[in-house]
Symmetry: C2
Subunit: 481 residues, 2 copies
């Protein structure tokens, strides 16, 4: 199999920019209509809005030209939208774009400058709940695809384009796995483009090459059958709060490495090139700490902050609760304790193995008289990582660099998402096309999208299908299975 | 100074038992009247009842014959009752009886068999809130004193008797220290008899020789300014929940000894005789664990369970709260954490020194980026311990053994109480006369007092003044100052 060098030159289509400029006002007007629908998946009262949002998108995709645009029901969650536009070429690859049309809750009272569901254009930005996460980043594909057709003179895209836009990502995608397994045949593709991430900064366009996996759950400890008097019994019976603390404290060694034996087995270490690429990013730790609302960096010894959040596995306690929590004191030995934990995993780690290692480790550490139960929130999310030399990744980077007129750098994403489900169920590599920046205020007040970046995203999408088709013609991509 | 040997024979007064038997019905009727007053100090709605209870008691003490019986106001808490009955003898010692007239909350809905404030006599027991803790044990002194007079033919007690019965013990005695400092001159005495503790068991009468001290408070930790995303930031900034757990875990070493340097300095170790006396008690660990509602014993290595709860200092976490505690998971790094802690102290430990040691220890263990604040709930309660050979203790033991017709064994109390304030402010030894047993249900449902034990307590009180006066005549007691 030949591989295409980074500097491969494919025939350039005409510039899509004029078409995009000509249709930008209509595009924005349509996007604003969609943003006005409060498709908050977390709030059952908004269930009709989530459905309306799905129907609105399906209609918009039909209007864009997709021959197939359907609303897919889930088993109890908000509906997803599926659309498909075959290229008509015999040997074109199939690319599935993933995004979501539900949004985080938002209310003017939270501190928004204006109604979160009444979009406002101001200073080159579009402010509304969902502007960046994720309606803007989904919708850029509509104008992107039209511009692709206009620039290439085609009547159908250069690749087979499929879209899957789910309606419960902000609620943890509880029905997403079953949905894609049910429809695996119709979702079959050669790569997935996730449009639900971000870039490093306005002046530093980047492509994300991986997300961490996640295993999370809860440990319940039970000691005495009820809270007991610490004077009468304390110091002579096990205290579940103390035992919970001893468990949590033992999770890390003095180097802040996870101390569960076997936890790091199989971890794909960063290559020298990857470490060098990360180190090239213009990282300002003081500024990053402000974003993190934190007052010091602390983590696994021997790694930088970016390596720690993107490329290293972690163990975190998300909550710990035991005993008295009211005002003043109450001298009890608590009857129980509860620990909420989460592990972030990186390539090479297996969710089932981490669950088992942790389960065994916990059981071995508790004294007699303290019973425990571990529950995991599902099977966990696997990590995903696109090799830097994957041909489809290089196509994406070329499309971005044409749109942005700049070198594209590499990031990863510390969080975890349904991308891994797509990778696993469909058995294909997952790429990330995101144009949002950290200041966009995801899940926060005054969420916005930068219009300049949004239209660069549109232009990237317009180039992308051409690049991918040409690259595939050189040599089909390896499957990730 | 001569000391009186344990087997000293003082002239025996006539037996007080016939007088007690004759007046027992009237005594119980009166006690029931008092128990009907719901003097719950924790509930502001019951403030008038607490006052009514104080006034009722002052009137009852006047009726008993006390020439002085007053209601003493506190600075914002429930009123106390003070009474005084001078002996008339020139060189009689002065003895102050301490108890409380407020009670724990109680409601039929909590699971009581009958109305907690409508006393019920049944199977030789009197069931009501306060029957044992502490109205029954305070009120036994009224009939005890009358029986003392009847048996000795005196018109005033053989010692100067003072009573101080506070009204907010069940709320932590917040104004007790100021109250006794204010009235220190009128409370002046040679020993204090605390009637607010218990005995080992119905068939094993015991005298308590000490209580542990207490230092308690709260540590607040602050990390990020708000909860932050564990995927975006976790593993690269300090997590206050983890730091709280590391603090709590570090409180004990692998031998479950408190690991704060200097904590054990000055601790008065048990003598061989004390260890032997404790080991003589008919201790059934399985039964004790049932009382503790616990499923295993665990504590400082090298000590028995009774030593751990009575004679060894401890560190306990009474509560720990950080981060998410709702259903399911939430992948955050919590912004803060809160630890409720308490130390039980034994003789030889100083509350101020323990506060300082802990404060320094905490400050030295937290990483950059985690701020903390320690608050203590007041200055702490000092431990108190009566030497086994204190003459007044031997008088009390003789009085009990006459009433019970049995050998009296020795216990201590693992909890902490205002006894230490009396010891410190008045500079005298504190003795404990309690006839309650562990099954009496203090602070729980169906609180009761065993009537046979209650009347043995009355009889003990009748003997006590004679014994103390005779002993004092042999040699005045050393002050504890």
């Amino acid at each position: 199999m030949r591989t295409t060098p980074d500097n491969a030159v494919h025939p350039h289509p005409a510039d899509p920019a004029p078409y995009i400029a000509e249709h930008s006002a209509a595009f924005l007007a349509e996007l604003k209509d969609w943003l006005r629908i409060p498709s908050v998946s977390a709030n059952p009262d908004n269930a009709p809005d989530v459905r309306r949002s799905a129907e609105w998108l399906a209609a918009a995709l039909t209007a864009t030209g997709f021959p197939v645009a359907e609303v897919w029901e889930t088993e109890g969650g908000g509906p997803a939208v599926f659309a498909e536009w075959p290229s008509g070429e015999a040997d074109a690859p199939t690319v599935l774009v993933y995004g979501h049309h539900d949004v985080q809750p938002a209310a003017r009272e939270d501190g928004w400058s204006t109604d979160p569901f009444e979009p406002v254009e101001e200073d080159g930005r579009l402010r509304a709940r969902g502007a960046a996460d994720d309606k803007g980043q989904v919708f850029l594909h509509t104008l992107g695809l039209r511009a692709h057709l206009a620039a290439t003179g085609r009547t159908a895209p250069a690749v087979n384009v499929k879209l899957l836009v789910e309606g419960e990502e902000e609620s943890g995608s509880p029905h997403f796995g079953p949905l894609i397994r049910k429809h695996a045949e119709r979702l079959r593709c050669d790569t997935v483009i996730v449009s639900d991430t971000g870039m490093w900064a306005e002046d530093t366009p980047t492509v994300c090459t991986g997300m961490r996996g996640l295993v999370d759950g809860q440990i319940d400890l039970r000691g005495p059958d009820q809270d007991i008097h610490s004077g009468s019994f304390g110091g002579a019976v096990p205290n579940p709060a103390t035992e919970a603390a001893r468990l949590v404290a033992a999770l890390h060694d003095e180097d802040r490495r996870v101390a569960i034996p076997g936890f790091y087995d199989g971890v794909v270490e960063l290559t020298d090139r990857e470490r060098a690429l990360l180190a090239e990013l213009p990282f300002d730790e003081a500024a990053w700490l402000r974003t993190a609302r934190s007052h010091a960096a602390l983590g696994e010894r021997g790694h930088t902050t970016l390596e720690r959040i993107w490329a290293r596995p972690t163990a975190e306690v998300n909550g710990i609760h035991a005993g008295y929590g009211g005002p003043g004191g109450k001298t009890v030995v608590p009857s129980g304790a509860e620990i909420k934990f989460s592990f972030r995993l990186v390539a090479g780690q297996d969710t089932a193995r981490v669950r088992q290692l942790f389960t065994d480790w916990v059981a071995a550490r508790l004294p007699d008289g303290v019973r425990h139960e571990i529950r995991f929130w599902g099977e966990g999310t696997r990590p995903c990582l696109t090799p830097l030399d994957h041909p489809a990744l290089r196509s994406l980077v070329r499309a971005m660099s044409r749109a942005f007129g700049q070198e594209i750098r590499y990031t990863r994403e510390g969080g975890s998402g349904p991308a891994a489900d797509l990778q696993d169920v469909l058995g294909v590599p997952v790429l990330f096309l995101g144009i949002s920046v950290p200041s966009d205020g995801w899940h926060s007040v005054d969420e916005k999208v930068d219009l300049d970046l949004l239209f660069k995203g549109v232009e990237t999408a317009a180039h992308l299908w051409t690049e991918l088709a040409a690259d595939w013609a050189d040599a089909p991509w390896p499957s990730s299975r």
